[in-house]
Structure formats: C-alpha cells, structure tokens
C-alpha cells in the first residue's frame, strides 16, 4: 500500500498492532523522478505479508525513523542513508555502516557518478 | 564426562587421513570440471560472443596471426576469471572450453594474461 510520508509511523504502528510484528526488509528504489522506500512487514503467526511504500521527492528525502516501531530497522535505515542519501530523522548513530569512504553521492541512486577509484595511502605512494 | 570424548579422540587415531599429499597425489576430477581455459584456434570464428558474455571483462579479442591471416581471438586474463563457464556455453563452435587442469601458478601476475597462442593445447 502506498502512503504519505507523514503517515508512515502511524501506519506501521497500526500494522504492528494488527500482528505484523516482524520487519523483513527496508528497501529503497530510485525511480529517477522519485525515490520510493518499501517496508516489508510480516505477521509470523498467520503467515501474512504487507508492503508499505513511501514515495519521496529526490531532492527532499527526509524520512522519520521507524526504529521506535521496529527495532530491526536500525541497520536497514543506516544503509538507506548510506546508499540512497535519505536523511533519517531522529536517529542517534550516524556512522556509515558499509562503506568506509569519503566520496560524495549515494551509490545506489541512478545518477551516481563513477568517479576515480578511492585513493588509499598506498596507491598514492605507488603513483609517486 | 570428558573421558568419553577423550576416548573418541584416541579412537580417531586409527582413522584414515582425508587430506592428500598434494604435489605427489592428485585429485580425481569429473569431466564437468571448470578450470583453465583452452582455445582451439582453427575452429574459432572470431564472433566475440565470449567477450560479450564474460561478466568480469576477463576476455578481450586481440589480433592474432594465424595461417589464414590475422584474426581476432580471445585473450584471457586468468587472474580475473570467475571460472563460471559462460563463455564455454555461448561459444557457437565450442572452441573455447574449460579444462580439468586446476594447477597453474605464476610468480608474476602478468603471466596470468594468456594470449590465444598460450591457451591452445
């Protein structure tokens, strides 16, 4: 189901109350004109699944953190921030999870530019 | 108690070894094995299908002098090879195959770039 950004927490809380207690994955998709974030939730006891989709403007991608609803969202939100550049509001830890680089841009967006390979100290030495 | 496990350990002193003494013995391999590439130059039609299908850009077509003049033939950078066998599957004349030869080594990684002539035979 597609919902507005403002209703995200509300909807997820409602779903959790209905028994969808298990968060499977938060995935981001870059549709070029928009960025959608998908929340896959599951009702383990009744074996049902639900997808919650939020569509965002690529230039204004702030999202509220859903960690208060699903604790499992922690690392997924971090990767979301890292890979899609989506600002997650109300999060404590900001450290990048996967990539230890200081390049710019969000790697999984379609307009990501493949720059020169990240220079390490060693490669600089090898050049010199 | 620990004694039971210890007895099992002592018993296992009798078990046969499962590792092989590598350079002296070699493993028996089935015919499906995918290791070192081999090129049959006379049957290659220079179609370049292997180059296109290779996921790692391992294969590049290079000019190679043959009996019928200079032709484009696959050159393989073994260092980057996944041994996935896609090139073997798409090859229309089955001239590029993966063989059973699994032991190849070099002191310099440049030696892993195999010219078409080196891949033959």
């Amino acid at each position: 189901m597609k919902i507005e950004r403002g209703k995200l927490i509300e909807t997820l809380k409602e779903l959790k109350g209905k028994g969808y207690k298990y968060l499977v994955k938060i995935a981001g998709v870059d549709n070029i004109n928009s960025i959608s974030v998908l929340y896959f939730v599951r009702d383990i006891d009744n074996n049902k699944e639900e997808v919650v989709e939020v569509e965002l403007d690529p230039n204004d991608t702030a999202l509220p953190s859903v960690e208060e609803v699903y604790k499992a969202a922690d690392w997924y939100e971090r990767t979301l921030y890292e890979m899609f550049g989506i600002e997650i509001k109300g999060r404590q830890i900001r450290r990048l999870l996967l990539e230890k680089w200081n390049g710019k841009g969000a790697p999984l967006r379609k307009n990501f530019e493949w720059g020169a390979p990240y220079e390490t100290k060693q490669s600089k030495k090898a050049v010199a | 108690m620990l004694i039971k496990s210890l007895a099992k350990t002592a018993k296992s002193l009798k078990d046969p070894r499962f590792t092989i003494d590598y350079p002296n013995e070699k493993e028996q391999l089935s015919d499906n094995e995918r290791y070192m590439l081999r090129l049959d130059m006379p049957t290659c039609i220079s179609c370049g299908a292997c180059e296109r299908v290779c996921p790692n850009k391992t294969i590049t077509m290079v000019d190679t002098p043959t009996e019928k003049g200079v032709k484009k033939m696959p050159q393989v950078d073994i260092e980057r090879c996944l041994f996935c066998g896609l090139c073997q599957e798409v090859c229309p004349t089955k001239c590029l195959t993966l063989t059973k030869g699994y032991d190849f080594e070099a002191y310099d990684k440049r030696q892993f770039v195999k010219r078409p002539e080196e891949l033959e035979g």
Partner: protein, 363 residues
C-alpha cells in the same frame, strides 16, 4: 570504570573481517558495537550493470559457504520475471542439491563453533572432512567445488550423473552416523554444555522484534521456516518439518542446526524415492532475457543461515533494481542485544552460534 577493547578485523574467531568494539566492565560486557563493511562489494549496484545471466556468478559470492542457496534464489527471481516454470524433475534435483548444500554449510558451522569455544581444530577438521564428501558430490554434478553456477531458469545446467543417487545415499549414511557421533562428542563434554546453555539468551519477543532469521529465530521458539510457510520446490511433498527449540540460548541454536541436518538427510532420502523421470535441463544462457519491463518480483528462500529475500524490479536486459536481504546481516545486528551482560569468553560462544559469514553480512 569500563575499558574498550577492539576485537578484529583480524582475529582468530571472527570468521573473516568483522570488527567488534567491546565495552567491558571487568569481565562483563556492557556493549558491543559491530563495525562492518570490510568485505563490501556493492553486489546490488554490480547487478544493475550486468546482464541477467552474468549476475549468477556474483550472487554465489554473497555467501561463500552455501553458494548454491543464493544461486537458486537469484535464478528463481529471474524465472519469475521471465514467467518460466521449473520442470518437475528439476524441482526435485534442486531440493536435493540445496539440502546437501545446507548439510555442508551446517557441518562447517559446527566445526567453527567448536573452534570458537576453544577446541583445538579437531572437530573442525572432522567436519571439514565430512563436508568434503558432500562437496565432491556437488562437484560431480556442477563441475566446481564451491561456485557451482548450476542453476538455469527452468531447471539445472545438466541432469544428475548416473551414479549420483547411490553415492549420495552412501555419503548420507556416513554423515548421519557422524553427526550423531559429534553430538555425543560435544554433549558428553560438561564444559561445552556449561559454555552454551543459558548463554546469549534471545527471547521469543526480542527475536521477532529484532528480526532474527533462520536457526536463530527457530532457536528462540518461533516456528517460522520459509520452507514450510512459503513452500517452494518439492518441500511440501517431502513433508518438511521445521525444527524449533524454545530456550533461545546458544545451545538451542546449536541444537536447531543439528536437528536441521538430520531433517535434511531425511528429506534427501525421501526425495530420491519420489523423484520423477524426465527432462531437467534449464534454458541455455543466451536465451535468458526477460522481456517484461518493470516487473516486480519477490522471492523468499531459506538459506542455511536464514531467510534470504530478493526484491527485484526486472528490466529488459538487466535488473533495474536488485535488493537482497541477507540473513547474516540482520543476525549480526542483534549481537549487542544478546551479548550484553555476559562474559567476554561468552561473546565467542554467541558469535559462533549465530553462524555468520562476513561476505553475507557486507553484501
């Protein structure tokens, strides 16, 4: 006063490149902060830039202990995008191979877990030996020891070799005997029981809340297994029963995996009885090209480490977006919650029982 110690990225029992910053109060753990990403390859981005069949080789490398599981999951996603049905015999062949792969993966885990508990590589070597027998079987079929690439949309790359059934049943008899032996070997050791029972307890509620998967979830008493809840291939015909333990500690997770191995052995035997004759070979590589545009595909698969979930938006030549949920990633994220309050030595018992593969975490 607390001290921070840095475990990894190079450490004997982190199974790869995991860095844990552990905050200690004396010998008690106050907090664990995992730092990951040392093995990050950007599989999702790579997949967007390669054609469908080229990706198979990359998907296998997500989890190098059970490569076939991801091979299968990805090919299943491609199948769905193309609208191809899996041949009846191929379904059984895939089930057999995947279960063999699961046994091989669990055997390796058993060895490394004993190793983490301070056993001097003995059980590790024994399970390695037994795993090798399975790898040889798979090698005979697929043509490689580790990266098989034997799945093709609609079936498998080639039918099983003629003496495969006989060999497999022989190996399974051997392994069943061995597993029982190892179980006695470990459980008759009082120290092993002390070091795993009641260590790293994850309650049922927390397991669901934190999104644990696979044996970790089932070790906490949640009866959820993709093979039974969303049956695929021949699992429903083989009468698969998910293995559940209720204690939620390291020992329960260990026991779940041991029981799973036995269940897998039973299923493979059953599958050989029911396997139909016919064609099992999938489509050739050059034809793999779904024509559908923007078709959304989701696939759930139970890999040895837990539930893998693939969300794919299919495009003409390449996946437009391939999002993969890897089980080790989410299982590692619970380490802080589980390890808090236990002793430093217990941290390794817990890490061992989570069965992490770092390539699977970093994707």
């Amino acid at each position: 006063m607390t001290t921070k110690i840095n475990i990894g990225p190079i450490h004997p029992s982190t199974h790869g490149v995991l860095r844990l910053v552990v905050e200690l109060d004396g010998d008690t753990i106050v907090g664990v902060e995992p730092h990951i990403g040392f093995l990050h390859r950007g599989v999702e981005k790579l997949a967007e830039n390669r054609m469908y069949m080229q990706n198979i080789g990359y998907m296998e490398k997500i989890d190098y202990v059970a490569p076939m599981a991801y091979d299968d999951a990805y090919v299943a996603a491609v199948e769905e995008a193309m609208g191809v049905e899996v041949k009846e015999r191929a379904k059984y062949i895939r089930t057999i191979l995947l279960e063999l792969q699961r046994i091989a993966s669990h055997l390796l885990w058993l060895g490394t877990m004993a190793n983490d508990l301070g056993q001097f590589y003995t059980l590790f070597m024994w399970t390695f030996r037994d795993r090798d027998k399975i790898l040889r079987l798979l090698q005979e079929h697929a043509g490689a020891r580790m990266f098989y690439l034997n799945m093709r949309p609609g079936g498998v790359v080639r039918d099983l070799p003629p003496d495969f059934e006989e060999n497999t049943l022989q190996v399974l008899d051997y392994i069943e005997k061995r597993i029982t032996e190892y179980e006695h070997y470990l459980e008759s050791n009082q120290v092993f029981i002390e070091r795993t029972k009641g260590i790293g307890v994850l309650s049922r509620e927390m397991a669901i809340e934190l999104g644990a998967t696979g044996p970790v979830l089932r070790g906490s008493g949640v009866n959820y297994d993709t093979r039974s809840n969303k049956p695929y291939y021949a699992y429903s015909e083989l009468g698969f029963r998910p293995q559940v333990m209720f204690a939620g500690d390291s020992f329960a997770r260990y026991k779940v995996r041991m029981l799973e191995m036995k269940e897998s052995i039973r299923m493979v035997r059953e599958a050989f009885k029911k396997i139909p004759e016919g064609d099992a070979v999938g489509m050739p590589v050059r034809l793999i090209m779904p024509q559908a545009k923007n078709k959304i595909v989701t696939v759930n698969r139970e890999t040895p480490r837990g539930e893998a979930f693939i969300y794919m938006i299919a495009d003409k030549e390449r996946p437009y977006r391939l999002s993969i949920r890897t089980p080790s990633f989410i299982n590692l994220s619970l380490i802080n919650e589980i390890a808090k309050g236990s002793r430093l030595a217990d941290l390794f018992a817990i890490l061992g029982s989570l069965d992490l593969v770092m390539a699977d975490v970093d994707l």
